[in-house]
């Protein structure tokens, strides 16, 4: 068999393969670039950006939980201008697509950032409507169909790159929210962001996180993420980028079968800096071994029980 086709399209942007680093876990690529060749990645979703620089929350910002972590970084980032100046030149050296993850407190914030980033070498926008660690905006938009629809529509009108809407799992019904994104004109949906959680140090009686609560990620949330990807796949037509606890090929396959066109890997980088590289290699081998000529054939290939 010829080499299988691993490439996927998000809007009119072609990713060489469907494996993307999840926003907030991979910085701007520099650090993990010492461990893996960034050219191999399908895309790099950079740390969530805001219009102005943000300090984020006070530390501790991480707690370990069974098969997962809580984080409460709170969108520490240098701001969109510093990103353009200091990070884009570095990232454009590599083949992998640059995905600017952006978060705002108001619709206007989002629009300003998109305008600023429109004329840069950023390839895709990932609109973060789901950050649980900042008090204002963001998550509020992501909690209702209407909110998602409005932000999406406003951004789509001006965006010169395809837009991915990143959804929060902290909702009653993820499918209606996803429909809001589709109806607003999203080119793709990414999910899931973290689930709000808390861990308490029983000795001090204080939450481990200085922010008290944080976002749960890692393998523990995978069954929830798989369920949501599957549900959303059944209700929208645009591509889904699935994530939540991926550690290896097997986990990645679960997401593709459930309905993902591409995947993101976050937390597991902390344990295994090579996880993306491994998954890409193993995925290609899997397609060869199973005579699958195109990764697209896997997407949504789930066979439900009656």
């Amino acid at each position: 068999m010829n080499n299988p086709n691993l490439s996927v399209m998000i809007g009119d942007v072609k990713l060489n393969n469907p494996v993307i680093t999840a926003s907030g876990t991979f910085g701007f690529g520099r650090e993990y670039g010492q461990y893996i060749d960034l050219n191999q990645l399908g895309g790099i979703a950079v740390k969530g950006l805001t219009l102005l620089p943000r300090d984020g929350n006070k530390a501790p910002r991480i707690a370990e939980t069974p098969s997962g972590i809580l984080n409460s970084v709170g969108l520490e980032n240098p701001g969109v201008e510093a990103f353009i100046k200091n990070e884009i030149p570095f990232l454009t050296q590599y083949d992998s697509k640059i995905i600017a993850n952006i978060a705002g407190s108001t619709v206007d914030d989002y629009l300003k950032m998109v305008e600023i980033l429109n004329n840069t070498e950023v390839d895709l926008f990932e609109i973060n409507l789901s950050c649980p660690n900042v008090r204002e905006g963001c998550l509020a938009f992501g909690s209702s169909k209407d909110g998602v629809y409005k932000v999406t529509k406003a951004i789509k009108k001006i965006a010169k790159k395809p837009i991915i809407i990143k959804l929060t799992p902290n909702v009653n019904d993820i499918t209606t929210i996803a429909l809001g994104a589709q109806e607003g004109g999203a080119d793709a949906i990414s999910l899931i962001n973290t689930i709000t959680g808390m861990k308490i140090d029983t000795k001090t009686k204080r939450p481990i996180l200085h922010n008290n609560t944080g976002g749960l990620s890692g393998p523990c949330i995978r069954p929830i993420a798989i369920r949501m990807v599957h549900q959303v796949y059944q209700s929208v037509d645009i591509p889904i980028i699935g994530m939540g606890g991926i550690t290896n090929l097997e986990d990645a396959l679960e997401f593709f079968i459930a309905g993902a066109s591409a995947i993101m890997i976050g937390t597991y980088h902390f344990m295994d800096p090579y996880v993306c590289e491994k998954v890409i290699i193993d995925l290609e081998q899997y397609l060869v071994d199973n005579n699958i000529s195109d990764i697209k054939q896997l997407t949504g290939s789930i066979i439900l029980h009656e």
Binding site: G27, E76, F270, M271
Partner: protein, 256 residues
Amino acid sequence: MRHELSTIVNIIKINDFNVRLVLQNSDIASKATPGQFVNVRCCDSNELILRRPISILKTHGEFYDIIYKIVGEGTKRLSKFSIGEKLDVMGPLGKGFTKESTDKKIAFIGGGIGLFPLVNAVLEFKNCESDFFVGFKSKKEMMLIDEIKKTGANVYISTDDGSVDYHGFVTDLFIKNIKNYDKVYICGPLLMEQSCVDILRKYNINGQVSLEQRMGCGIGACLVCACETVHGIKHVCKDGPVFNIKDVFLKEQLDE
């Protein structure tokens, strides 16, 4: 660059809680500078999804030593490994202690397990007049003294219960013996570090302090290990763990 596993060549139980590992990995051993740390995978299971940061105690040839205190689940699992087994260790990480050639009179102040990162410094920082102040809870928990004395440093010991030498805090012991040091290196519990920094500021002495913070990636990518400095938010794993005492706000880190 793919990091190689580290082989456990020796395991030394120092006391009920502290275990010293002698590890073989020429890359880590050759690159490590005083005050740097490694990030250790403590078990195969993904139940614990984070590595554990542990200071590099010393290096010798293709070997390096670490001492870990068994405090929670991760270090407990680490204690299940046997000689000959391989550990998945990333490192050396972070920015360690530095010494300018003009630093001749130096001091170290270590509290409890905060002693560990200072050991590699006292071993490596040659041609100095070194005072080494170290505080333990009690005699039972005393360790590494001979190893430090061998470097020629003057060792001052305090114990909380008076079971060895000075009865009281290591900071008080330090004040009693303070000289016009060129530089002082500090590592210990936050409160102790805070007092030391206050003293040094008062006496206008330069110093460096090693901070602890909960970590995710350990390499500067996830931004969880934030600490406030005069230069804005920095990250303990990448910009530290060692910081100039002029730059950090330790008070802000103490729980309100």
